[in-house]
């Protein structure tokens, strides 16, 4: 808990005055390799001691929850276009809960490893294991959150991270007489879930939303076997042709809004 106070953020540069507390810093998750994950906790705007804890994870894989979740989605601040100051997010999720942003795995954002080879053999398994170690040690630093109503939230490739971590927590709780996690559930958005159905669904969306031609749609269905882990060269060619020649200059992440030039 002493370290908790050392992690307290008094104020961020260019931040408007706020009533809630915020903390950020590192938790070592592997001493041998020197892996440490960076977190940012923005406590609830009112009665934080009575509000649930929500862990937010972005996907990628390799993308930062500070960059996306905290700074342009659910966090209390938005960064203004000068990139030098912050303004308040009217619909911040810390109005309802204590939000914990985690940059995971090591190598994402401020999270680091002292073993550079770690950056080239990350994957679902180690990410989930390191995230569990992070939570166990984070709870030691913030014991007031032990047994607090706890949820996990995320989007995109965190459609892997969130259920994988939830499963580890459920197993951890079963293995301990006095579990510290009161995990109630999880919520995921536009989440990678099942390779085969996700891929078929994506190509179907492209065609039904008139982003690709009939020819491309037929060519993709003919050349792509999404049940295989590796796509064939013909399949890649069909997909790349559609994306590079038929999409046009759109933002695939939001197909009806202007793309960032």
């Amino acid at each position: 808990p002493k370290q908790q106070e050392l992690d307290r953020i008094t104020a961020l540069p260019g931040q408007p005055p706020v009533t809630f507390s915020q903390f950020s810093g590192y938790i070592t998750v592997n001493e041998q390799h020197g892996r440490a994950l960076f977190y940012w906790l923005t406590e609830a705007t009112s009665h934080p001691q009575n509000k649930p804890l929500v862990l937010w994870l972005n996907g990628g894989p390799g993308c930062s929850s500070v960059a996306y979740g905290a700074s342009e989605e659910i966090g209390p601040f938005r960064i203004n276009r000068t990139g030098l100051s912050l303004y308040l997010n009217k619909y911040s999720w810390n109005k309802e809960a204590n939000i914990l942003f985690l940059e995971s795995p090591a190598g994402v954002g401020f999270s680091y490893t002292n073993t550079s080879s770690d950056l080239k053999d990350s994957g679902d398994k180690r990410t989930a294991q390191d995230a569990l170690v992070f939570l166990i040690r984070w709870m030691s630093r913030f014991p007031q959150y032990k047994n607090r109503e706890f949820y996990i939230a995320g989007e995109s490739y965190a459609g892997h991270y969130v259920p994988q971590l939830a499963k580890k927590i459920v197993e951890y709780n079963k293995a301990h007489l006095q579990p510290i996690f009161n995990l109630k559930g999880f919520i995921v958005g536009n989440a990678a879930t099942d390779n085969y159905h996700d891929n078929i669904g994506t190509v179907t969306f492209w065609w039904t939303h008139s982003m690709i031609s009939d020819g491309s749609y037929q060519s993709i269905l003919k050349n792509c076997n999404f049940k295989e882990v590796q796509t064939s060269e013909q399949c890649d060619d069909a997909l790349n042709y559609a994306m590079n020649n038929e999409f046009g200059d759109i933002d695939q992440y939001s197909i009806y809004t202007p793309s960032c030039i």
Binding site: K120, S122, Y151, I255
Partner: protein, 148 residues
Amino acid sequence: CTENYAEKYYNQPEVQKAMHANVTGIPYKWTACSDVLIKYWNDSETSLLPTYKKLIAAGLRIWVFSGDTDSVVPVTATRFSLNHLNLTVQTRWYPWYAGNQVGGWTEVYNGLTFATVRGAGHEVPLFQPKRAFILFKSFLAGKELPTS
């Protein structure tokens, strides 16, 4: 272009100092996504549906939502995947409301709630912050989305 603002803000030394970040002098700039990690990503489960089944059986509250203008992991992808769970319907498909507008559509299954968010891209709270906030409040409360 919002992530460009973050690239600038979090690489300022005074911001890193205030956040107790980069205390070991990471040998590369802070960036929103790591090219190295995604390029060399090692193991990736082909399907999380078996894990969903286990976690539904464990009694967790599970909500899955889709911004319906995203084409990267679009709503059809999620519906095809969830359909494969063969869950029974608890509350039939209905439009949910945010103010006097349809916020999206939803169906409550035994063990899982699915909802769309109308007019939202991949980062739902970025494009539809109010609708995302209502979704979040309903999820935390364990209540179905508003019918009016």
